[in-house]
């Protein structure tokens, strides 16, 4: 399959469904023979950003390091999926500018829905006071103003979210 390098950046609350969509999209792209990479939060943290916390400065540094790697892979023709909360608008715009081939996917569900899901049990810990600076609770989240794709994961099923992104990738000429 013909493809061009691009970074698909998933932003949204913890529990909104970023990794779930990225995983499903990975399957879809792989079935079409695409060359792709998921810059998974845990792997990145272990290898590139273990030193960082959750202050705005550290979050920005975290995003810049991920973005640097995404840019390198993108310019070598890889489709790069980046599911990271990335709460600040300015740094996402910086990534868009730096990487150029960049699609922003707003993975959107109300915080109450994310908290109800609580897949990783993090919201429970936040409410118990065990975690601080948690995006959407006691730390800010700035939603995208003009994302290429918005997935309302509380209102749509997973295949619909994946199809929206695939359509956008085709429309912009990144996959055939």
């Amino acid at each position: 399959m013909k493809q061009r390098g691009v970074t698909v950046w998933f932003t949204g609350f913890s529990g909104a469904g970023k990794s779930t969509i990225a995983t499903a999209l990975t399957e879809e792209l792989k079935s079409q023979g695409c060359d792709l990479e998921v810059l998974d939060g845990d792997e990145i943290r272990e290898n590139l950003t273990k030193d960082l916390g959750f202050s705005k400065e550290d979050r920005d540094t975290n995003i810049r390091r991920i973005g640097f790697v995404a840019k390198l892979l993108t310019r070598h023709g890889v489709i790069v999926l980046v599911p990271v909360i990335s709460p600040y608008r300015a740094i996402r715009e910086e990534m868009r500018k730096n990487i150029s081939d960049f699609i922003e996917v707003f993975v959107n569900a109300p915080i109450s829905v994310c908290e109800e899901r609580d897949v990783k049990g993090l919201y429970k810990k936040v409410r118990a006071g065990e975690i601080k600076q948690f995006t959407g609770i006691d730390d800010p989240y700035e939603p995208p103003l003009n994302p290429e794709v918005e997935c309302r994961t509380d209102l749509e099923e997973l295949p619909e979210s994946v199809a929206k992104i695939m359509d956008k990738l085709k429309e912009l000429g990144y996959v055939a």
Copy 2:
């Protein structure tokens, strides 16, 4: 040109000629239509490792971050050139094991020759006491025991060094 992904890791003193050889090799590979990336020390430091100093721990972290990026690019078919002093043997062996497709190039010149060249003026600063923990002067360097290629830059000309590495890349099936 057909190619397989591989990391070419250049180790040696400051001033030994790592970047010079990497630059010349880049030209040679590009002329043959290869897809490659140089993980240049300055660009990496700016984007990935600005927080790190020159203790053994920080040097190891620096190498691990570079290696993580090299591995990602290598597995997507890119030829990755990494000119970094990387003084410690154990961490280079860790990179070899992690990346798998890995060629170690020992860029070797006596420290006295490197100091005489002093392209960046660093040795002068070391002798003036302005820089500490400088590899080969007051910080250790552990030479490779079995590098795939050794370039004796005090005894051979640049084209010979480049040809040695090209021959090894061909011999191991990374370039046609």
